[in-house]
Amino acid sequence: MSSMKVKAKEKDGIVEVKALIKHPMETGQRKDKKTGKPIPAHFVQQITVEQGGKTRVSADWSGGVSKNPLIFVKFKGGAKGDMVKVAWTDNQGGSDTAEAEIK
């Protein structure tokens, strides 16, 4: 099961890409309430939004982005029916990708 839900919509030549990612986005600053030990930083670090073999927009994040984060970006050059691929990697070596057809 993907950690991501991606939606892509084209309107007036602009493609809007929205993705919701399930991820704890731990900053590394929080302490475990039971043990008192710090919870290790675990957050999405880099995201790419690709279409037509090109990276249209990329993002770099820290743990300062909210838990279960969303990303909403736009680009020109895609058309309805094309596939958009969103991929992320996190600071612990995790990663995931998901695709959606531009509607």
């Binding site: 602009i14 900053t27 600053q29 670090q45 880099q46 790419t48 939004v49 090109k54 990276t55 249209r56 927009v57 990329s58 993002a59 770099d60 994040w61 820290s62 743990g63 300062g64 982005v65 909210s66 838990k67 984060p69 969303l70 990303i71 909403f72 970006v73 736009k74 680009f75 020109k76 050059g77 895609g78 991929a87 990697t89 996190d90 600071n91 070596g93 990663s95």
Partner: protein
């Protein structure tokens, strides 16, 4: 083969310089497909000045073409919706900076081919602070800011 190389670079989260340089030289990876390394220095900076320095930015002329949409009062500092929309040509990147956060740099968005200078995400804010958008366009740096109040609620549970 090309796809595999891309995936390996990805999963490391940072670029292993030796392997990538060879791959680029061999024509297997074009520069636009190689992600720049995650900017640890900038993301771990503790002041806005250091963030700006570590992002390699210069200045930050206030610009009315940068529109920041965020609530005047955040309902919950853990989830503050922020949208930055830039009405300029040639925008290369947009940075979301929260002045009063322990690590002010929260996110950067880099425009690839056809990228529109618009970005929205939800950010964490520790307390009332200016939310600053720093934009690079045509080699210059611009900025705008908006204060977002973060309050302490009374209903826990």
């Amino acid at each position: 083969m090309q796809t595999d190389t891309k995936r390996r670079v990805f999963l490391k989260g940072s670029v292993a310089s030796g392997a990538v340089a060879a791959a680029v030289g061999a024509g297997l990876l074009t520069p636009q497909m190689v992600l720049a390394e995650w900017n640890k220095a900038a993301f771990e900076s503790k002041t806005v000045e250091d963030v700006v320095k570590n992002l390699g930015l210069d200045g930050g002329e206030e610009s009315a073409d940068i529109n920041i949409k965020a609530p005047d009062i955040a309902e919950n500092g853990a989830v503050v919706p922020v949208t930055v929309d830039v009405g300029m040509d040639g925008v290369e990147s947009i940075a979301f900076i929260v002045k009063e956060n322990p690590s002010p740099l929260v996110a950067t968005f880099t425009m690839g081919e056809g990228g529109v200078p618009f970005a929205r995400t939800n950010i964490k804010m520790g307390k009332t602070s200016d939310v600053i958008a720093m934009v690079t366009a045509g080699g210059k740096t611009y900025m705008a800011k908006k204060e977002v109040k973060v309050t302490i609620g009374g209903c826990g549970g």
